[in-house]
Structure formats: C-alpha cells, structure tokens
C-alpha cells in the first residue's frame, strides 16, 4: 500500500435501536464521536479534520446534514468533508478519512457515519415513482431478491442456507451489547416460519431499520505509536460500476472482485481464507453472506454456501463472519458500512468484548451499496506493518 501508515486508535458506537427519540441527529452523531475520542484518549481539540458520511439525504429529508452537524462534530475552523456512496458510504467515508492521513495531509482525523431511520422510511425513499415508467420494485429487498434467486439457481444452494445465516448473525448479536436485534429465542424454526417478504427473503432474513452512528479516530504513525492498541490499516480499496449494463453480472459483480483483488495485493494476502482471521461483511439479506464469500475470494464461484453450511462462517468457525451480528442485526444504513470497518478494527485491537474472535490478528471490513455497484473494503492488522 502506498502512502504514510495510518491506524485506528478510537472507535465509538451508539446502541442501535429502532427509535432514538431522545436525541437529535446531531446528538446521535455526537454520542458516537465522543466515545471514539474517549477510546482514543483525545479531545475535540486534537482533531485536524472531520469526514462524515450517510446514505441518501432523502432518508431523513435533511439536505446536506454536514452543514448542520459542523458544530456537533467539532469541525468549526477545520476541514469537513461529506462522502456519499449509497449503502457503502460508511466504508468509503472511512477510506476517505484514511486517505487524508495516508496522503500526509492530516495527522488525526475523526470520521463519523450515521442514519436515523426513525425520522424517515428508507424503503419508500428507495422506491420513488418516476415518470414514463411504472414502479416495479419496493425497497432494497425488491431489488436484491431476484439476484438472490439467480444465485440459488446458479449455485444449486439449498433453501436452508439463508435461514442459517439469519440464525447465526442473530446469535452473534447476543454477544454484542450495541446490536439492535437481541432475539433471545432465535432458532432455525423461528426464521423459517417468519413471513416471506420478497421470495426467497423471509422477514427474519432481512436487516432491521435502525437509528445509530459509528465513529473512528484515524491517526498517523507517530500518534498511533502512543496508542496501546492501534489497528494498522494495511490495505484499502474502492471500486464502482454502473447499476445496469448489458452483460453485467449483478450477482457476482466485477467491481467487488476487482476491489478484493486490489485489497489483497496491498495487504500481501494470497490465501484470503487462510490469512484473514475474521470478516465483517455487509450482509443486509441473509443470502448475501454466501454470495460475498465468493465475490471476496473466500470460496470458488458456486461454493460460498458450503462455507455457511459447514459452519465455517460461524463464531467458532475457521472464518467467523460478522461476529458483531452484522447488518442483519443492526442497520443504521449510512453507518452500517463504517460499523463493519470499526468492528474489524475492534477485533484486531482485542477490544470486541464478548464477540471477540480469539487471536484475531488480521480482519476484513467490507461494505457495498447502490445496486451492488459500490464497494469499499479495508484490511486491518494488529501487528505494525
């Protein structure tokens, strides 16, 4: 990887829930940012620049919320940037923040991502009627369900794989006090019997609607040297492709494969499954776990579901995927990607608490957005490169 070294020295999250009626959007972001500063042992004064991200403004109806959030995030008199790449924005926001350190521009950058879904209805904000054509889908599930059906047809995966992911991620969530869904009696039967929303996606195979924010403090090498537990960033990559074009493989998008290949090359990873200890991957619908296992090179094409089936991605498997409970357990959309990045950092810092994967030395954070067209990823490592 080119540029200066950069490390995560602070992570802050809010307790994800369906409604945070006690705080404004500013108060929500502030809570996560304050906790990240506290974790880093810093104050607002120590921060050089702020990079903020969220999903479409239409979700809350606040246009350019970064204007209104400048004082809440201590950005007065400092550079402030807003990033937007749909659902992957939490990841790409972290990468833009990291690039300011890697590029030698700043030493200490605060990055924050949020969504307050209770102030809106993201499903219908994603299903806007347009002239000249009738509306043909409802929400993200309406878009992704046909892609999942295509994956099942192509791979021959059995029906229970999606259910297994729905159970596994909710079991993991019980280890994470920040996770929104805490379903104590989660079981295969409970997921299997939940209503079918967008065939083949059942109610308990979808993500919840959450209010929440996530923040990180990213610093340069000298500053990280004073931290007891930095997570060193050893690879960062983003890729994009159009939503639709003839010949596009929307099930296993090239942008995701290229992004992973670039990422692994930077981090010196030649055997992802062998060299990565755990992964936090953007899985808003259960079937995206096996689909991304293939797209990310953990499994050959058509084989990803076998990792889920064999328990390889379970908390005690050889590649724990979403030990935090993942997007299936907490989905403040704009923050969801950053939570993946932050959770990867917490794992290699040994600070993941009850959902700590033993001996995690190298972890993957992954986010995707739009119509599976924006990808953002990073690899973090406990050991200084």
């Amino acid at each position: 990887m080119s540029g200066q070294l950069c490390a995560v020295v602070g992570v802050g999250q809010t307790k994800y829930s369906s409604t945070r009626g006690d705080v404004s959007i500013a108060g929500l972001c502030r809570e996560a940012a304050g906790r990240a500063l506290e974790d880093a042992g810093m104050t607002w004064r120590d921060i050089d620049a702020v990079v903020i991200g969220k999903a479409p403004d239409m979700f809350e109806g606040v246009m350019m919320p970064e204007l209104y959030l400048a004082d809440a995030l201590g950005a007065a008199g400092k550079p402030m940037l807003r990033v937007h790449t749909a659902g992957s924005v939490g990841g790409s926001t972290a990468l833009v923040a990291a690039s300011l350190v890697q590029g030698g521009i700043h030493q200490r950058v605060l990055t924050v991502a949020f969504e307050k879904q209770s102030e809106s209805d993201a499903m219908w904000a994603l299903s806007r009627p347009m002239p000249f054509a009738p509306p043909t889908l409802a929400g993200a599930g309406g878009y992704f369900a046909p892609l999942i059906r295509s994956y099942i047809r192509r791979s021959g995966a059995p029906d229970h794989i999606g259910i297994m992911v729905g159970v596994k991620d909710r079991q993991n969530a019980l280890r994470n006090p920040y996770a929104h869904l805490q379903i104590e009696d989660i079981s295969f039967e409970k997921v299997a019997e939940s209503p079918m929303l967008w065939d083949p996606i059942r109610y308990l195979e979808t993500c919840p609607s959450s209010d929440g924010a996530c923040a990180m403090v990213l610093v340069d090498e000298p500053t990280a040297g004073r931290s007891p537990d930095p997570a060193w960033i050893v690879g960062t990559a983003m890729r994009s492709e159009p939503t639709m074009f003839a010949g596009r493989d929307a099930v296993n998008p090239r942008a995701g494969r290229d992004c992973a290949a670039d990422l692994y090359a930077q981090a010196g990873i030649t055997d992802p499954r062998g060299q990565i200890d755990c992964a936090e991957i953007y899985v808003p619908f259960s079937w995206y776990e096996p689909m991304w296992m293939e797209n990310l090179g953990f499994a050959a094409e058509g084989e990803g579901w076998k990792m889920t089936d064999s328990g390889a991605t379970a908390f005690d498997g050889d590649l724990p995927v979403n030990p935090s409970g993942g997007v299936l357990s907490s989905n403040p959309i704009g923050a969801s990607g950053m939570i993946r990045f932050a959770e990867a950092a917490l794992q290699v810092r040994g600070k993941a608490g009850e959902h700590q994967v033993a001996g995690a030395g190298q972890a993957l954070g992954h986010a995707y957005g739009g119509g599976s067209q924006f990808f953002a990823m990073w690899i973090v490592r406990a050991q200084k490169p």
Binding site: S24, A26, E60, D71, A72, A76, S120, D121
Partner: protein, 148 residues
C-alpha cells in the same frame, strides 16, 4: 428524425419525523409555556435560540437560561407587500431581536404598522399567540414597546 422530447411533472411527497433533542426540546417546550430560554455558551454568553453545541468550542451545552420577553432590534428589513404565507397580513418588518439577557439575536417578525416607526436599537416585546403548541410561531410576532 428524432421523436418528440417529452417532459413530465414528477411530484415527490414524503412524510418525515423530526426529533429535536434535549436543548431545542427545552426551548420549544418553553415557548409553549410562554417562556423564552437560551443556553449558556462556554464563554458565558447566552445564545437565543439555543444550540446543542458551542459554536466555538463544540462543547455540549446544557445550562438553559430564561431570558426577557422584550429586547432591542439589531437590524431590520421592511416588507411593504406581505405574501400569503408571511406571518402577518399587513406590512411588517423582519427583525433580528436581541432579547434582554441574551447575547445573540433572533429572527422574527415585527408588527410596527409603518416603516417610519422602525429604527435599529428600538425596544420591542413579544406578542404571544393563542393556543401555543411548542414551535417558533408560538411567538405571533414582536411589537414596539412604546405604543404609537
């Protein structure tokens, strides 16, 4: 030959919820009760309307302070022909009012009758609306302290 280039209206309507948080929550609740509250900033100034975070230091602000219901006009602009959605149905002034006990000015409407009565520094007081609900329009407008 190209076809006709079509244009269509596209109406986007969408309901949202807004949560104000503790500081603006106190401010709007106060208006409903007929009180005006500011917040004390890190440097001791009283900001009205209040902000959740200090504009200079970004510190969290929590100390609500009652301020007066009268103050001085710090600047103004006369509206000769009010539009249908304006707060008054007769000519009025948009004013910045610094309430007694406040260190910042607040935007509102002033029912002064005629522009000749206007001057920077003039004293004005709140005229409350009947049936207050907890929003800035609970202040119907300001009016000159001295009768014409």
């Amino acid at each position: 030959m190209a076809g006709e280039i079509l244009v269509a209206t596209n109406v986007l309507e969408y309901p949202y919820t807004r949560t104000v948080g503790p500081v603006l929550g106190a401010f709007f609740t106060g208006l409903r009760e007929g009180r005006i509250q500011g917040v004390r900033a890190a440097d001791g100034r009283v900001l009205v309307p209040p902000t959740e975070y200090d504009p200079l230091t970004s510190e969290e602000l929590t100390e609500m302070v009652d301020v007066g219901q009268a103050g001085v006009v710090t600047t103004w602009a006369w509206v000769y022909a009010p539009r249908p959605l304006h707060p008054l149905d007769r000519p009025f002034a948009w004013v910045l009012v610094r309430l007694d006990g406040a260190d910042t000015s607040m935007l509102h409407a002033l029912d002064a009758g005629e522009p000749e009565r206007m001057s920077t520094g003039m004293r004005v007081r709140v005229r409350w609306r009947e049936g207050r609900v907890g929003e800035i329009q609970d202040i119907a407008c300001f009016e000159p302290e001295t009768p014409s």
